[in-house]
């Protein structure tokens, strides 16, 4: 008996009376007004399709994964998706590990209904071979901390994770063109899901005898409220789902007012999710560009670091150049336009290289490099460290390395920063050519 009591939230009569009386003056215990949401933070993990949402003290983590399976027989050309919720015992003392309780199942159902009934995720695009193979999307929601209003936070986590999830592209190949190849991410760009709209869940609590409405209840308010309602809507003004399971009876006019407020809040939340997803995607794109086109315009601190590495890295430079050749070849299509153009311009050899060719906009290059200067060195990736090391070492080495000579002549007539960038883009080709024609004294 003691264990059970200790597990549930201990509420005093003072709290219940106080929450109700404070609401009569339109103020809530954490200082919010009745229709204010708590601060919402959306973060993403390192993998596509993982999100972490913080709504006040409530924390939910969402993961989206995909698998190729056989479709259901009555829907042979549609993919499937399923939602799994896990209420971690560290979120709340009343959560037990093992079988999900009633509230866990209800939460899963609300999120699922919002996405499925409204057809927010396009399932027909998930079909690979009709009747045989489709993508099954699995959304896992883990509750990390229960500060109240798990439904809204879990819904946002699911939407954010779905918006950043990418699945590998499937192509047909093989000898007869009938074999299905699932292309890994480095060969072909993985595809995002097609999401038509974002159904956002907004939860209301009804507190006290007069059923005063509050939005986004904390877990103390949830303990004293008489009933709750969750409305799932999108910014197009569609009501995707409404959930009111038991609890106090509410007037029809109250429900209509709640729906009106919910549509306003849904708009706010949708724009927040979209902004977060956009900044995540631009970060991802930047990372990709950097990986194949390292910015050698590093700060002076980095320069000193590079100088120290000069002594030992010349030997390693040769070995690494081999890797870079292979990288350069396979990543041609991933490079941005500017590097492609400069590569073409440089086929004639260093003498014909024109840093001010029309394809290259020097100012733009410098500006984009300047914005990326700080970040490359923070990355742990071996490849990005290796390449700047190598370029710097060859630049600063004063021995009769033919590669160094080429760089020095190039540097004479061009902006220093610009030269480094284009050199890097070009270097693999140069090295390849030199290796096949003559043996440079690269050591």
């Amino acid at each position: 008996m003691e264990q059970r009591v200790a597990n549930s939230l201990v509420m005093t009569v003072n709290e219940k009376r106080f929450i109700e009386s404070a609401l009569l003056s339109d103020i809530r215990v954490d200082g919010r007004r009745p229709f204010d949401y708590r601060t919402l933070t959306i973060r993403f993990g390192s993998e596509d399709g993982s999100s972490e949402v913080q709504l006040g003290q409530t924390q939910v983590v969402g993961f989206v994964t995909g698998q190729l399976v056989q479709p259901y027989r009555d829907r042979p050309n549609e993919g499937t998706f399923a939602i799994y919720t896990e209420f971690s015992p560290m979120a709340d003392p009343s959560f037990e590990p093992g079988r999900p309780g009633d509230s866990a199942i209800e939460l899963g159902r609300i999120v699922d209904r919002g996405l499925r009934e409204s057809r927010a995720v396009d399932t027909e695009s998930l079909c690979v071979i009709a009747g045989k193979l489709v993508w099954a999307i699995r959304i896992d929601l883990h509750i990390i901390d229960n500060g109240g209003n798990l439904v809204d936070a879990a819904n946002i986590a699911a939407l954010a994770a779905l918006s950043t999830f990418t699945r590998p592209e499937c192509t047909f190949g093989g000898e007869d063109g009938q074999e299905l190849i699932v292309n890994p991410p480095d060969e072909r760009e993985p595809l995002p899901l097609i999401i038509h709209h974002l159904p956002v869940a907004v939860t209301f609590g009804f507190i006290g005898d007069d059923n005063i409405v509050v939005i986004d209840p904390t877990h103390y308010e949830e303990a004293v409220m008489g009933g709750s309602m969750t409305a799932t809507l999108n910014t197009n003004g569609d009501v995707c789902a409404i959930q009111k399971a038991g609890g106090a009876g509410v007037l029809q006019s109250s429900i209509m007012q709640c729906l009106r407020i919910a549509s306003v809040k849904a708009g706010d939340i949708t724009s927040k999710i979209k902004n977060a997803v956009e900044s995540y995607n631009t970060q991802k794109a930047k990372r990709k560009v950097k990986r194949h086109n390292p910015a050698p315009a590093v700060s002076s601190v980095a320069k000193n670091h590079m100088e120290r590495l000069t002594l030992g890295s010349d030997e390693s430079a040769v070995g690494q150049s081999n890797n870079m050749d292979i990288d350069g070849q396979s990543n041609e299509q991933d490079k941005t336009n500017k590097s492609k153009n400069t590569a073409k311009d440089l086929t004639g050899g260093p003498a014909s290289w024109d840093p001010y060719s029309s394809a290259v906009d020097g100012d733009e290059l410098r500006a984009s490099l300047a914005s990326r200067v700080a970040t490359p060195l923070e990355k742990d990736k071996e490849s990005t460290q290796v390449k700047p090391d190598e370029t710097k070492s060859t630049q600063q080495s004063t021995d009769a390395n033919s590669i160094a000579e080429i760089h020095e002549t190039v540097e004479v007539g061009s902006q220093k920063k610009q030269a480094k960038t284009l050199k890097d883009a070009v270097k693999p080709k140069h090295k390849r050519k030199n290796k096949s024609t003559s043996k440079p004294s690269a050591s």
């Binding site: 009591v5 005093t12 404070a22 954490d30």
Partner: protein, 238 residues
């Protein structure tokens, strides 16, 4: 770890389990009192709990740390919530590992005839009489002399949760910066339990909410930040 011949080097410092703070072979015939977080290991006194080492004259040492959960100790004043009533005791939750018992007669002038009626969820300010590991702690609504003092039921107001460290800071003298600053402009009453709970009451709900949130927030701010935060807060009230 080398033993510290003069224990004063570690006082008010952060210590971690395994640190040796006293070497008894050096000290000659002195009685020292060990509080929580310290243990005698043969000839040395070593630390069991991470926290700050404290010392009061003439000979008391203990380790202080701030937790969300409370370990009951005799003599503490805590805020308890009634969760059950039995013929002999009221069962209270004091944020400790076990529920505590408050005998029905432990009130000033308490007899079998005038047992108070507390419903589930009543907030009480009580004193811990005894707390042994494995047993339920014993509480009382009287001080050591049998007077009621300030113990008893707390009506109205709102109870906020905090850590044990913040509760100790609120009870220290000189008074905590937040209490002083808020007390100059607002009038409210506050009861602090060393078990990480404090109760605030004022004539207006907004005052209660303001005071409670300000205190909770001040825990994570440094002294300078607290001053800035309080200045801004009090200006916005005017």
């Amino acid at each position: 770890m080398e033993s510290k011949p003069s224990p004063s080097t570690l006082i008010d410092q952060l210590v971690v389990p395994g640190d040796v703070i006293l070497d008894l072979s050096i000290m000659t015939s002195q009685t020292i009192k060990l509080g929580g977080g310290l243990r005698q290991d043969g000839d040395t006194i070593s630390v069991m709990k991470a926290g700050t080492l404290r010392f009061t004259k003439p000979n008391k040492y203990w380790v202080e740390s701030s937790n969300k959960r409370y370990i009951p100790n005799a003599g503490d004043n805590v805020l308890g919530v009634v969760v059950d009533t039995k013929p002999e005791n009221f069962i209270l939750d004091i944020k400790g590992p076990a529920l505590a018992h408050l005998p029905v007669l432990s009130f000033e002038g308490g007899t079998r005839r005038n047992i108070p009626k507390f419903e589930v969820g009543t907030l009480l300010y009580v004193r811990v009489v005894s707390a042994n590991t494995g047993m339920n702690p014993e509480l009382s609504c009287m001080d050591a002399n049998g007077k009621a003092g300030e113990y008893g039921i707390l009506k109205e107001g709102y109870m906020f949760e905090s850590s044990t460290g913040l509760a100790r800071q609120l009870l220290s003298s000189p008074p905590h910066l937040v209490l002083e600053a808020l007390g100059k402009k607002l009038s409210f009453e506050i009861a602090v339990g060393i078990n990480g709970r404090f109760w605030v009451n004022a004539s207006q709900s907004s005052t209660v909410i303001l005071v409670g949130n300000a205190i909770q927030k001040s825990e994570s701010l440094s002294m300078v930040q607290q001053k800035i935060y309080l200045d801004k807060l009090l200006k916005s009230i005017q």
